[in-house]
């Protein structure tokens, strides 16, 4: 039964703090919108990125009644979705929250949800929907949001009864953050936002027979893996984002040090293992370090932890780890096991639990010959760049930036050449946060996501590395940054082109440059000025350090435009269709 609330003045009742559980006070009668907001507070939410519109106005009507919920008005819903993603990625255990209205507002979330889905990021999107009585009539701003987002969310709900609001939101958060995390969408019809019911937040853990907790690692499998490590002559570990999600960095380091196993990582696993560790390899795969690819191709025992092993990792599938005798795959998602490569031994479990229990079984050992071989490859195939032009090189900018990160700053990278350079030059002596859209490769991700990261980590320095192409894809968020004085240092590596595509065209598409020129890009200093955002620009190396220092000293967002060598390329790179060992290096 839906009763429509007519007296909005009594909403004052809702702003009184929630009564502590257990007190025998009668449940308060609240509107659906109030229930949703109260539920968010119960789930520990403090920040919401959102955009209002006709179908979520009851939510916005009551938002000011809840000062515990800090709402950030983004300038485009895509920016909101990425900001929620950046918030969640950078603060373990948190869930990013984004609001959008029905129809166009909700549909603007799709790319952001897909980005979060591919990279297993817990986000809850609450979208306004037309009145439940109008659904299906093509009413104004109606769209089938559940249908449109089905393949890019972990789960979604259409609320159909006012009593379901609190349990649905509780379940949505549980599903978003548990198991393999992911985005969950709650589609919330307008009439139900106004309908009134008694507010009772469900007690206790969420239980659904169709959503079991992840299994504990199978001890027999762990013993088997420990035996394999014992017998291994050329062991290698590859770490993915699952290690970071699980918070298993220490366990990973312990395993690597106990048995002296070299550790490489995926793009999304960057930061899971200290780059300067003696056991550290580097990024693997398509644009990975040559020595990591060599190690993987020589390995007899390869242990993959918390990764999907996609084509960016394997390059041509038959070239991946050809000498491996025992492939071990540990992942929380059973569907990842055997999807792209078929392991000999697999463990379905949380990476932290699996590694912790594995470490109890692994004996100290050291394969001297193997480690010597690896050191030799490191010398033969260093990650490096060349400068034939004397122009500012992107890596020089990044070296200056990383020199100021002190192993602490959160670094976000967008998509394209800037992303790979930023990943390969990431240099932390301990685990750290390097966030990027590794799975979908969404240009325009980093800038809005960096707002989320900074708001989630007010005491950490945040750098956003981006190309000028990706930056302009969501540059409207400059207004949000300035309005909220979000202290992010944006490093634009400006090569006046869609650099990664340009490089592909030069090398793999007959050298025909087509639709990649970005000469017509705004003057970023004037642009910053127009938005009220401090901005600086240079093409000279000697300016880079001082500009970064000034940006860091400034309390607020800063735009740094670096005009780099327009022909700078990403190396190493495996030419399209080639195998892991066919990487081409900087010459």
């Amino acid at each position: 039964m839906i009763t429509t609330r007519t007296d909005q003045r009594s909403s004052a009742a809702a702003s009184t703090a929630a009564t502590p559980d257990g007190l025998a006070e009668p449940p308060r009668m609240l509107t659906g919108a109030q229930i949703a907001l109260e539920s968010l507070i119960r789930e520990g939410v403090d920040t919401i990125f959102g955009y209002p519109g006709g179908a979520n106005l009851w939510l916005y009507r009551h938002l000011p009644d809840y000062p515990a919920l800090h709402h950030v008005l983004v300038r485009h819903e895509q920016g909101g979705a990425h900001a929620a993603d950046g918030y969640a990625r950078s603060k373990r255990g948190s869930v990013g929250v984004v609001f959008a209205t029905s129809g166009p507002g909700a549909l603007n979330l799709v790319t952001g949800l897909a980005t979060a889905y591919m990279d297993s990021v817990p986000v809850v999107a609450i979208t306004g929907q037309v009145s439940s009585t109008a659904i299906g009539t093509d009413s104004f701003q109606e769209s089938d949001v559940i249908g449109s987002t089905m393949s890019v969310v972990k789960h979604s709900y259409l609320i159909t009864r006012v009593e379901d609001i609190a349990p649905t939101i509780k379940e949505a958060f549980h599903i978003a953050r548990s198991g393999r995390p992911g985005p969950v969408l709650v589609d919330f019809p307008k009439d139900l936002q106004a309908a009134v019911t008694a507010f009772n937040y469900p007690e206790g853990p969420v239980r659904r027979r169709s959503y079991p907790a992840p299994p504990r690692p199978d001890p027999a499998k762990l013993r088997q893996i420990a035996e394999l490590i014992k017998g291994a002559k050329r062991p290698v570990i590859l770490a993915g984002r699952g290690v970071l999600i699980a918070g298993a960095e220490e366990e990973l380091a312990e395993l690597a040090h106990q048995a002296h196993i070299p550790v490489g990582w995926t793009l999304l696993g960057t930061g899971a293992f200290p780059v300067t560790d003696p056991m550290a390899l580097q990024m693997v795969g398509f644009m990975g370090a040559g020595y990591t690819n060599k190690a993987v191709c020589e390995a007899d025992v390869l242990i993959m932890v918390g990764m999907r092993c996609d084509d960016r990792v394997t390059t041509r599938l038959d070239s991946f780890a050809p000498r491996v005798e025992h492939l071990v795959h540990i992942d929380i998602d059973p569907a990842e096991i055997g999807k792209n490569v078929i392991p000999h031994v697999s463990v379905v479990a949380d990476a932290k639990v699996a590694l912790r229990e594995l470490n109890l079984l692994v004996e100290p050992k050291r394969e001297h010959a193997w480690l010597t071989q690896i050191d030799q490859w490191k010398e033969e195939h260093p990650v490096r760049f060349t400068n034939h032009t004397g122009l500012l090189q992107p890596q020089q900018v990044l070296e200056e930036m990383y020199a100021r990160c002190e192993d602490e700053a959160i670094v976000l990278a967008d998509v394209g050449q800037n992303q790979i350079w930023a990943a390969l030059w990431f240099n932390y002596r301990k685990p750290g946060l390097f966030l990027n859209s590794g799975g979908t490769g969404t240009m325009g991700y980093a800038f809005p996501a960096s707002m989320g990261a900074k708001l989630a980590n007010p005491h950490k320095t945040v750098f956003c590395v981006t190309g000028e192409g990706g930056f302009v894809m969501n540059m409207q968020e400059m207004a949000t940054m300035v309005e909220n004085n979000i202290d992010v240092n944006v490093v634009i590596l400006n090569n006046s082109s869609l650099g990664m595509v340009r490089q592909f065209q030069d090398d793999f598409y007959d050298g025909v440059r087509s639709a990649v020129d970005l000469t017509f890009t705004p003057d970023f200093v004037k642009l910053g000025d127009a938005f009220g955002m401090k901005a600086m620009s240079t093409d000279r190396l000697e300016d880079v350090g001082p500009m970064l220092d000034e940006a860091m000293a400034h309390k607020g967002p800063v735009l740094l435009n670096f005009n780099i060598d327009p022909n700078a390329n990403v190396y190493p790179i495996v030419p399209l269709g080639m195998g892991m060992l066919d990487f081409v290096e900087a010459s």
């Binding site: 259409l158 169709s210 059973p334 569907a335 096991i337 697999s346």
Partner: protein, 194 residues
């Protein structure tokens, strides 16, 4: 080598489940040969019986991806087990009063039934394996099929023991299962290829 796999899936009886299942199968590039849905003895749970045309390796992937859907309670690949897998066909046949005997004989042989009789046609109902129904349809063709409706497969494994008992999913306590369940798949363990 591809083959038909027969999947028996229990799902929460909620709106949109059919779309989620169908969309997952399509998105992962598998083809549905047949799909049928209906409630079980517990009205909060529906059973879907799905025939997908895939290779062995893909079947495992399809199964695991489906298992991941939040509304899917459990999924059982019953291909090749001793199972009863039946379809139902309804056919409106050309059958003027004087020419019905031969038709009725065949219906009898296939243990079918006449479920409707009209002036010059009858509706026949036959149930059984896909093969039996294929054969029956072929035999009926010469008589003149006016209309035909065929269901998807529904299936259960033979024997006393239920493969999936709903009580297995009663929820008690917060302890995660200690034994890896059937679905926590050990895809291709020890198959030796990479």
């Amino acid at each position: 080598m591809t083959q038909s796999r027969l999947l028996s899936v229990l799902v929460d009886n909620k709106p949109g489940v059919l779309q989620r299942v169908a969309s997952m199968i399509r998105r992962r590039g598998f083809n549905i040969d047949s799909l049928s849905v209906g409630p079980t003895d517990d009205d909060t749970i529906s059973r879907m019986t799905i025939t997908v045309h895939v290779g062995r390796q893909q079947a495992e992937q399809a199964t695991k991806q489906l298992a991941k859907l939040i509304d899917v309670i459990t999924i059982d690949d019953i291909t090749g087990l001793r199972n009863v897998a039946h379809e139902l066909v309804l056919m409106r046949m050309q059958a003027p009063p004087g020419e019905r005997t031969e038709l009725l004989n065949l219906v009898d042989i296939f243990r079918g039934r006449i479920v409707d009789v009209a002036a010059s046609s009858v509706i026949i109902e036959v149930t059984g394996s896909a093969e039996k129904i294929d054969n029956f349809i072929e035999l009926m063709r010469p008589f003149g099929i006016k209309e035909l409706a065929r269901s998807g497969v529904v299936a259960l494994v033979r024997g006393d023991q239920a493969r999936i008992r709903l009580m297995d999913f009663a929820i008690d306590g917060d302890e995660p299962p200690t034994e890896p369940s059937r679905l926590q798949g050990v895809a291709g363990d020890n198959t030796g290829t990479v």
